[in-house]
């Protein structure tokens, strides 16, 4: 009897929590499908009476949202691909190759994870201005091409690669780059997928840096474009909801498809001291 009550209590609380958590997302979707001005009623309607895609059409046809989608996709893909390569090389070397200073350099990198990114932003902006990278995709991509967190994650995972495997490849006459490419990378695949999701999501969702760096509207990424739209179209609630749906739909989809890798990576990062 007591157990039955407890089961009900635990699952009821979970159901309530999930409902509260999902409500803003579901409501955003619902309102984005309502005809203009429908959302300004009392009581607020939960579902659209006559669903319409007109706001999505306006966003793409009149407000050129397609352009911002492409910008976001392009920048996030470039950062993800390049940082995967560079971080995996460095992470593998910190785990498995011997070189002087390996330990203290790694310790210094880990310790500097407490440095907030904002302290670097003002000088970084000035530096990139010197390089002619302000207001360009390059300014978004280049500083993101390597990350301390990425190196850390790969290194933790690469530690478990058996040395005997690498030595065997060396005895067979494989060069170090060949070993990295054909032996190590395939073994690192799960953590590479994890890091890819982290990097892509982080880049897609990033707001402050593109906001600082980009002046030209044509270069805006989705979050910056959305914040800008908010300034001009705050009253068009349904359209703003449609813009929000488009901004989060790709990352939500990606997470739902690959969540096993994401959550495993999170646990790996969180539990290991």
């Amino acid at each position: 009897m007591w157990r039955w009550m407890q089961t009900l209590l635990v699952n009821g609380a979970l159901l309530l929590g999930a409902a509260l958590t999902l409500f803003p997302l579901l409501w955003m979707l619902s309102v984005s499908l309502m005809p203009a001005m429908d959302s300004t009623q009392i009581p607020p309607p939960l579902l659209p009476d006559s669903p319409t895609l007109e706001h999505y059409k306006v966003l793409f046809e009149r407000l050129k949202l397609g352009r911002y989608v492409l910008n976001s996709v392009g920048v996030a893909l470039a950062v993800t691909a390049l940082s995967l390569l560079l971080n995996s090389m460095a992470g593998y070397a910190f785990a498995k190759l011997r070189f002087p200073g390996r330990e203290w350099i790694f310790q210094a990198l880990v310790a500097s994870m407490v440095l907030p990114a904002q302290i670097a932003m003002l000088p970084l902006f000035l530096m990139l201005k010197q390089f002619g990278l302000v207001n360009s995709y390059g300014g978004l991509i280049v500083p993101g091409m390597a990350s301390i967190f990425g190196i850390f994650l790969i290194r933790q995972y690469a530690l478990s690669i058996p040395n005997s495997l690498l030595d065997a490849a060396r005895v067979d006459g494989a060069g170090e780059f060949r070993i990295y490419w054909s032996v190590v990378l395939p073994l690192l695949k799960p953590i590479l997928v994890t890091l890819a999701i982290f990097t892509f999501l982080g880049c897609w969702n990033d707001f402050m840096w593109p906001l600082i760096l980009l002046a030209d509207q044509d270069l805006y990424t989705l979050p910056v474009a959305l914040a800008n739209l908010m300034g001009e179209h705050a009253q068009d609630t349904e359209m703003m909801m449609a813009g929000s749906v488009l901004t989060i739909a790709p990352v939500l989809l990606m997470f739902l498809l690959l969540q096993k890798y994401y959550i495993d990576g999170l646990m790996l990062g969180g539990v290991k001291e």
């Binding site: 958590t21 070189f99 280049v142 170090e176 959305l226």
Partner: protein
């Protein structure tokens, strides 16, 4: 090659290792460590919009920026708001994360993966998009929150327009958006506790609460420390929520330290002054982290 001595091998590997590490390290040094150092230098200059055109225009001013900072009421407002957000929003967020983790990990819970994913979803959403949505939820007339509160007889609150309510409203959004992240880390920590400890305690007649108090909490302490530090660092960097929802208003009630840095640096181009704000942020985060580690050790 098979006949090379160990010494030659070591030398070859060192040379190769350099090429593996160099590209990533060079980027990190150039685009992170160097800017951090330059940031410290910048904070002791009067770098402004004229210096932006010609860096020769800026001069060394010593601690002048810091002195002005301490005399600026706006800085104290931003600092107070940020500390309020960290001190109230942070612990609340941790509490929600822990409760959610205990529920998701409870032996009697059904469909665990489903609930875990549902509760985690806000973490992967784009902050700006969700700030747009929540701004609407908070609408004084048409917002759903006031409508839902009216069922309980609560009269409408102007969430983002009332200086007393704006920061709590931003906290609520931040907690909603972030709790899933810590929840997952707590779940990992909970799963690392050997189940035989609970079995032994149950045999000794320990109730659910005693098990939580004497097994779960102490064994979760390392996880708790990690999560607290990460949350603290993240919450000190409050920016997107007030930027999109309130622009720091009403009457600067949601102006955060990072928002102040952004405005001074990239709106008014007072980069020397803004750099001093950034340094203060860094010192705050460092002090907070140190305090956490210190408290936990005793």
């Amino acid at each position: 090659m098979p006949y090379s001595s160990p010494q030659q091998d070591n030398l070859a590997q060192r040379r190769v290792a350099f090429w593996f590490v160099a590209p990533a390290l060079a980027l990190i040094v150039l685009f992170f460590f160097l800017p951090v150092l330059v940031g410290l230098l910048l904070s002791v200059t009067d770098f402004d919009i004229y210096a932006l055109a010609d860096a020769q225009q800026s001069r060394y001013v010593g601690l002048e920026n810091y002195r002005r900072l301490l005399e600026a009421p706006l800085f104290w407002t931003a600092l107070k708001n940020t500390l309020y957000f960290v001190a109230v929003g942070g612990p609340l967020s941790l509490a929600v994360s822990l409760i959610a983790a205990l529920l998701v990990n409870h032996p009697l819970a059904c469909c665990k993966p489903l609930f875990r994913s549902a509760l985690f979803l806000p973490v992967v959403t784009t902050l700006v998009a969700m700030a747009v949505v929540w701004r609407y939820l908070y609408h004084p007339r048409y917002g759903f929150l006031n409508y839902a509160l009216s069922w309980f007889g609560v009269s409408p609150i102007d969430w983002l327009g009332d200086p007393d309510w704006a920061m709590p409203a931003i906290m609520l959004l931040a907690i909603w958006k972030n709790f899933g992240f810590n929840m997952i880390i707590f779940v990992a920590g909970l799963q690392n506790i050997p189940s035989r400890l609970y079995e032994a305690a149950a045999l000794d007649g320990a109730g659910e609460w005693q098990q939580f108090r004497h097994i779960t909490l102490p064994l979760l302490a390392p996880t708790f420390l990690f999560v607290t530090v990460v949350t603290l660092i993240g919450y000190f960097q409050l920016f997107g929520e007030p930027y999109v929802m309130t622009q720091g208003g009403p009457s600067n009630a949601t102006l955060s330290v990072v928002l102040l840095m952004f405005q001074e640096g990239f709106k008014w181009w007072n980069m020397g002054f803004a750099a001093a704000v950034a340094v203060v942020l860094f010192v705050l985060i460092l002090a907070g982290t140190w305090l956490q580690l210190r408290l936990r050790r005793t």
